[in-house]
Point group: C2
Chain length 467, copies 2
């Protein structure tokens, strides 16, 4: 069997699918197109080809999300390379290649964005198999998507005539509509999907040749990386010093060994709400919906509901309803969702970054109600997890367990609480919450105090390295 | 000063403004077009003319809402006539007339729907003053609105030529668009606003003459009414036996004494979301919004937000976001909102009737979170109010006071709790919650149990007559 290591690029911050996707919990970690998250789907798609657990390149603040989601689909020891800052794909893939070489051998890397949909996973695996000989012979193979429409949102790859893996004639930028149509009419043009297959050493050699600055910076960051379980933390300063560039610009457009394999595999980059509508199951009126949606006399619309959403007489609309924000957009204008996110960011509003439910390594908390002087949170603690030993200067807390078992430390006492039991953490008390059980612990916390910000916390001890 | 009693008709159930307006808390009790509710606005508009507190005719289940809202605008002793069932305006006004006569004298009744907007309140009061002589002389005066557009949603009144109060030539039904245009072209046609001025005895005499069946049924219901503070509870069976009819059909179209006074007073019946958009302040793009709304490249739309609502590239849309339901409708299709409500009703879903925050005579409760085995409520108790002495068979309750003072009865104990104090009500315990203070009491209740329905309650004693 070929030595093939999947590299899952998971560094995106996905603002185009706001308000479902947010900086702290972006698109690749959401179950947007099925039961499992897009990262999990991506792994499932290529797991049968993999000689090893995946190498994941992720933003440092998503490390627990990535690790947990992969664990849930049976990945025991992913190698999770953490980027202290985003530097585009060329440096990210270089770090993955260095990690693959460090693990021994010189495997083929199957590089995949972790936030795309591929309906025909079998077809994709067959295409990868077909590309292996060329990659083993030293080619840098990209998978070009057979275009179904004159899309202006993608770059195109012009391929030489022929069958199977073939030479790349040129990479072209996102075209205007007329140019895109001319590509479809001419034939031989394919969408640039950002999926690649090549030997780790070949990529590094070509990067070294064309962008020695990037190669040097990433190598320095990798050599100085700290390792912590499955996490490989690239050196912050060294990685930050790398120029930011895409693999296309840095390597693929320059190398003489670029090859392309055209594939028709039901690919969609889910790069916008309209793209998600396209890949979702639609009813007879062309409506796709998730959750509790009532559509009256409405057509060709996408609705995502946590509570109840009613559509009346609307066409070609996107409605996305979350705990703390609702988006209503015309389907052909969804690219402007980024303008909303930009505005929220410039106003320093948390809606741009956080969901109402905030994920932590130990579980999550969701602020279900708040007003002057108090806040109510629903807190979930994973089996075996423990929050830091902490105290607060400005608030007291009431805890009512509603599911599972809590082990509570309060100053010198340690005791257990079960469902329908409660306790009180006075202001200033040193306390800790743990889940000693094997099911999720859930509790309602009522905070009371003059100041209720997350930053009123003194950490004495933390198993996640945050104290 | 003329003896003039305002009669505020407050029996509507307002489904056309769902999800903000719901059966249990409809439009007239909401602050839709200003700081105060429409009922309060209606009273403020006519208070300077009134010789007495208003007579309010309301649905029995809205009695506490009506009383409380009027109290908040300084009405000490409204006479609140409670209809055990809706029978349209002819019986409702008959009951009000009987109440006015029972109070002594034979006042003029100024009959007003309590859910309309009148921008020029001074102009309206001047019109009422102008109509008083005719009404005192025995006429049944209606106020006809000078039409600003060929509306097909209203009935029209054709008036005789002349100035001021004049004869009615005929009442006409809601016309089609061409007919409505012909009315505007011809002149002398006015919108039927449902506002009237007449002597109590004159209305009753004409009703007796043209619809003796209605007059007899209402008189019987009124004579057998029970009185309870400000509430006049019409006899259920007698009132239910009355035919249902409008004052227009029953009296105004038949009497020889109908007169009309055309008025141009910024009137709007706020009969739909598009009407509310019309009367709301709009920005330069024609957008009207309430709450936290971000509009990007959007026009002529109405948005009501409790949380954050973002509009992107939409025109002529209505978006209404509440705690448990979101409506997105094309502005020219808002009449179909009733189809959504009908569907919710046929599915027996509470969204048709209740808001998430449910109002009770003692205050309100809002179910802020729930899942299998538990529910979290935020409970508000008005100063001096007390819930019933009660017990539950299937749930225990944790109470955490977050504002104000609670007096708690738990079996044989009675004790007080202040902010940041809590207690536990075991399953089966006989308990009561009171607010002995002068500010609102607020508490968080965490219910725990196998069944959490509102109907798991045994009431032993209730100051609101519900045990």
């Amino acid at each position: 069997m070929t030595n093939l290591h999947p590299v899952l690029l998971s560094g995106g911050s996905g603002t185009r699918l706001w308000p479902l996707s947010r900086e702290a919990y972006p698109k690749q970690f959401l179950p947007l197109a099925g039961e499992e998250t897009m990262l999990q789907d991506t792994w499932r798609r290529v797991a049968p080809l993999a000689s090893a657990a995946p190498i994941v390149v992720a933003n440092e603040e998503h490390r627990f999300l990535a690790a947990e989601q992969l664990r849930l689909v049976g990945v025991e020891h992913a190698r999770i390379v953490l980027e202290p800052a985003g530097r585009n794909t060329a440096p990210a893939i270089a770090a993955a290649a260095l990690q693959a070489l460090a693990d021994g051998g010189d495997p083929l890397l199957l590089v995949l964005p972790s936030d795309h949909v591929v309906r025909d996973a079998g077809g994709f695996r067959a295409a990868v198999q077909a590309a292996i000989p060329a990659a083993e012979a030293g080619a840098l193979v990209t998978f070009g998507i057979v275009p179904s429409a004159p899309e202006t949102g993608f770059g195109y790859i012009q391929a030489a005539a022929g069958e199977g893996v073939r030479d790349v004639l040129r990479f072209v930028e996102k075209p205007d509509a007329a140019t895109a149509q001319s590509y479809l009419d001419a034939g031989g043009y394919f969408w640039n999907s950002g999926m690649f297959l090549f030997r780790a050493s070949r990529y590094l050699a070509e990067l070294e040749r064309f962008r020695p600055d990037i190669a040097a910076a990433v190598r320095k960051a990798f050599d100085a990386a700290t390792r912590d379980g499955d996490f490989i933390r690239l050196d912050r300063d060294a990685f930050a010093a790398s120029p930011s560039d895409s693999i296309d610009y840095a390597v693929m457009e320059k190398t003489g060994d670029a090859r392309v394999l055209p594939v028709d595999i039901g690919w969609n980059d889910v790069g916008s709400w309209s793209a998600l509508w396209e890949v979702s199951e639609q009813d007879g009126d062309g409506n796709a919906s998730h959750g509790d949606v009532i559509a009256v006399d409405s057509r060709n619309s996408y609705a995502y509901a946590r509570r109840l959403v009613a559509l009346v007489g609307v066409d070609d609309l996107v409605v996305v309803e979350t705990d703390d924000a609702v988006l209503v957009a015309r389907k052909d204008r969804v690219q402007q969702v980024k303008d909303v996110v930009a505005r929220l960011k410039s106003d320093q509003r948390s809606h741009a970054v956080l969901h109402r439910e905030v994920h932590r390594p130990w579980g999550s908390y969701d602020s279900i109600d708040q007003d002057a002087g108090f806040q109510v949170k629903r807190i979930k603690v994973k089996p075996g997890a423990r929050l830091s030993l902490q105290s607060h200067k400005h608030r007291a807390e009431h805890w009512i367990v509603v599911r599972g078992t809590a082990r509570v430390t309060r100053d010198n006492d340690v005791f257990e609480l079960h469902a329908n039991q409660s306790t009180y953490i006075p202001l200033g008390a040193k306390h800790r919450l743990e889940n000693p059980g094997s099911e999720m612990l859930e509790l309602i916390e009522v905070q009371s105090g003059s100041y209720l910000g997350e930053d009123d916390i003194v950490r004495y001890e933390d198993v996640y390295g945050r104290s």
